[in-house]
């Protein structure tokens, strides 16, 4: 019951809508990008996937699946990780971060679901996923779809208190708090399962994936890199909102989280190279191939935070931000490299994301940021501030 009591006690940490103008220069620019996105989406549904993407029979997956799904949900792992640290490990100090992290996670997962919907050819059959009688339980992609759906549903429950609070349904909120620990625990399990499953998805490609990326330890590497990306996302989100809203930075807490990230990345790198050595693939990374080059860039990016976070200087706000950015980019690159660069389906096949695909991905990200701004302005997500520390800025 400890999780429950912390959850309940956590209500003591006051959160409040920050208010302020919704239309600013920044949100207007985001709105423009979203407008462009809407046009491309309309073209995709009117004229088919081929009209806006460079996808083909050799490359049935591209930017949308790799960025919006694999990377979006990995960054979205931030919500589950913070909830885990706060409620399961009982570190109440992280409580101020829980709501923004859960919001970020929810938007990440909604983006993933949306992009799957754009990406499936027969989108009008998508509702089949909700009916058990259509389930193909031997399919790995079915499992991926289920995980995304379950995780999104759990996140919706986890952010529900925010909405209940806003509309004064405190009785309902208290009832929900009593069972919330179940959702938090289940959410962590689903997120962990899903991220290791995303990695293991590569197995079905067999020899079409370069041996440097067709790894025996796929679940472990994807899980550790996801935790790194999730922690990085918490730091990025915390730093950016502090800067944009001119609020004090929770540098101490972020620093501690990044220390955990540092340890996780060390595990990742050891596992990565040990796996290459054990499988005898190590000589391959010294050959002048594209895959080997991207491997080294990506490994350097994974190693950089280890150095950046060293010592007292490593705990400075700027350093933390750069380390988090490197960590996130390393994780992204790892996924792009594994799913697109290291994927060879035979001679003659090519893929590079088209402008239309990029417009949809960038549009989804803009939509996510817009939604986040809207939510923190209208709902009690960020901690209430003392009146002395100055008014929020747009």
């Amino acid at each position: 019951m400890s999780a429950f009591s912390v959850t309940h006690e956590a209500a003591a940490i006051e959160t409040a809508p920050i208010g302020g103008r919704l239309v600013t220069r920044f949100t207007a620019v985001l709105g423009l990008i979203v407008g462009l996105f809407a046009v491309v989406v309309a073209v995709r549904f009117a004229r088919g996937i081929g009209a806006v993407t460079n996808l083909n029979d050799g490359y049935p997956w591209g930017l949308w699946i790799v960025y919006d799904d694999f990377i979006g949900t990995a960054l979205g792992a931030s919500g589950f990780i913070v909830a885990f640290v706060t409620y399961i490990l009982n570190r109440g100090a992280y409580h101020p971060m829980v709501r923004p992290a859960l919001m970020t996670a929810l938007f990440g997962y909604i983006m993933a679901s949306l992009s799957v919907f754009f990406d499936i050819g027969r989108y009008w059959n998508a509702w089949h996923l909700f009916l058990p009688r259509y389930a193909q339980i031997d399919s790995v992609l079915w499992q991926v779809a289920m995980c995304i759906m379950v995780a999104t549903a759990i996140l919706l429950v986890e952010v529900l208190p925010v909405v209940l609070e806003r509309f004064g349904k405190h009785g309902l909120r208290r009832k929900l708090d009593r069972v919330m620990f179940l959702f938090i625990a289940f959410g962590v399990v689903v997120a962990v399962m899903q991220q290791s499953a995303f990695g293991t998805l590569l197995v079905i490609f067999g020899p079409q994936i370069d041996p440097i990326y067709q790894i025996d330890l796929l679940p472990i590497l994807y899980l550790t890199s996801t935790i790194g990306m999730g922690l990085a996302a918490v730091t990025l989100e915390g730093s950016l909102s502090a800067l944009a809203l001119r609020r004090p930075l929770e540098r101490e807490l972020l620093g501690r989280l990044m220390k955990v990230g540092q340890a996780i990345l060390a595990i990742f790198l050891v596992a990565r190279f040990a796996d290459l050595a054990v499988r005898g693939v190590l000589p391959r990374v010294f050959q002048p191939t594209t895959v080997a080059i991207v491997f080294w860039i990506e490994s350097a990016l994974f190693a950089a935070p280890l150095v950046l976070l060293l010592g007292k200087a490593g705990q400075r706000a700027g350093r933390l931000f750069v380390a988090a950015m490197t960590m996130a980019i390393a994780g992204m690159m790892y996924r792009f490299d594994a799913y697109l660069v290291a994927y060879h389906t035979g001679p003659g096949w090519h893929y590079f994301p088209s402008l239309g695909e990029m417009a949809i991905t960038v549009g989804l990200i803009a939509l996510e940021i817009l939604a986040f701004i809207l939510v923190i302005r209208l709902l009690p997500v960020l901690p209430r501030r003392h009146p002395s520390s100055g008014a929020g800025r747009s």
Partner: protein, 384 residues
């Protein structure tokens, strides 16, 4: 169904299998599992199948040949994995089979009459080949009896009548117009439905699975309206064909040996009868040699040999009647788009987005240093 199945064999019961069937114990159990899957029984029924094969009372089988080429028997004997003929000959008591029995002439006919008398009402009658009805049945005579007489002699006292091959099932090749011999199916001669296993030749496993079903459950498998076991003839070839995607995409071989044919495209326009033929060929294949070992897999259109009115009736090159889907009137180009790599615009956009992100990141990192810190959280926690 599970309750009626005998239990799995004990270990000592299965020990004799090597000597008896001439195959390793493991291979025997694998075979039983395969048969069980084909019948659509629960995986746990594999043990019951093994037990039934080991303990069955060896039903007497009388196998008649009429207007046929012995292809059905040949395909059964050529089955290699496992050595099916050993299993067949050991599990059933094949009391009369013109191709396989050592006896000849009146001796052979005497053996048939003796077996029929000894197992009256219990033997299984298998008929291979069509029965000629023209010229009072005189086109086919064995031991002085016409085919019609023989079948009317043997069928009434049989526990089950199985027509193996397309000839016995619906007339097959001998019944092709103008059908001078008046070749007819077993069911037509007897005037009642029998179990049909059509095919030219039928897949030996379809016959064998039917026999095992009879041995394990004591009854014949569920049949469709043409008397064929549903487990084998329930699905359209077209719906399970490995080339189906090419049909849907409009990629057709137009001539034997053309580019599409060599690339393995759909054979519909070469006259493939897969769209109107119900059989499990694409799933269980032939000859136990693995992938692609069925006519369409090997590059020849299906001729619809199991279907009356299709096989040996429609010309091989004639287009099949599409029972389920019709192709659209217009297809996209048959060429496969192989995609394009980065262009100046796309790579430039990626570079611009990347540059923007790095630039913004650097600037944010600089500005972050100027922010005030939240007081260390531990202090607040201690107060609580």
């Amino acid at each position: 169904m599970k309750g009626r199945l005998p239990l799995a064999p004990r270990h000592d019961e299965i020990d004799g299998v090597e000597a008896r069937f001439g195959m390793p114990r493991r291979q025997f159990l694998q075979f039983c599992a395969g048969i069980t899957a084909m019948l659509g029984l629960a995986p746990s029924a594999a043990g019951a199948v093994a037990k039934a094969l080991l303990q069955a009372r060896r039903p007497s089988v009388i196998w008649l040949h009429f207007q046929e080429c012995t292809g059905c028997t040949e395909s059964l004997l050529r089955a290699e994995h496992p050595t099916l003929e050993k299993l067949i000959l050991d599990v059933i008591s094949l009391d009369y089979h013109e191709t396989l029995m050592a006896a000849a002439g009146h001796q052979a006919e005497a053996a048939r009459r003796a077996a029929m008398a000894a197992n009256k009402g219990k033997y299984i009658l298998v008929v291979e080949g069509a029965i000629p009805t023209g010229a009072r049945g005189n086109f086919c005579k064995i031991g002085g009896q016409t085919a019609i007489d023989l079948i009317q002699d043997c069928a009434p006292h049989a526990a089950a009548v199985v027509a193996i091959g397309s000839c016995a099932s619906w007339g097959g090749m001998p019944s092709t117009a103008p059908n001078p011999t008046g070749a007819s199916s077993v069911a037509e001669i007897l005037g009642r439905p029998v179990l049909n296993i059509p095919g030219c030749p039928p897949n030996p496993y379809n016959f064998l699975t039917t026999v095992v079903h009879y041995l394990v459950l004591g009854k014949l498998p569920e049949l469709d309206d043409k008397g064929r076991p549903k487990f084998a003839y329930g699905r359209l070839i077209h719906e399970n064909c490995e080339r189906r995607a090419h049909f849907d995409a409009g990629r057709f071989a137009l001539e034997f040996g053309d580019e599409g044919h060599r690339l393995g495209w759909c054979l519909y326009k070469l006259g493939c009868k897969g769209p109107e033929t119900y059989a499990n060929c694409p799933s269980i294949l032939f000859g136990d040699v693995g992938c692609g070992s069925w006519p369409v897999g090997a590059g020849h259109p299906c001729i619809g040999c199991v279907e009356k009115g299709v096989g040996f009736t429609k010309p091989i090159h004639a287009l099949a009647e599409l029972l389920t889907v019709t192709p659209p009137t217009q297809f996209a180009r048959p060429a496969e788009e192989q995609g394009q790599g980065g262009t100046l615009a796309t790579v430039g956009t990626v570079a611009a987005i990347g540059g923007l992100a790095i630039g913004a990141g650097a600037r944010i990192a600089r500005n972050l240093g100027k922010l005030p810190d939240e007081p260390p959280p531990d202090a607040g926690e201690a107060k609580r």
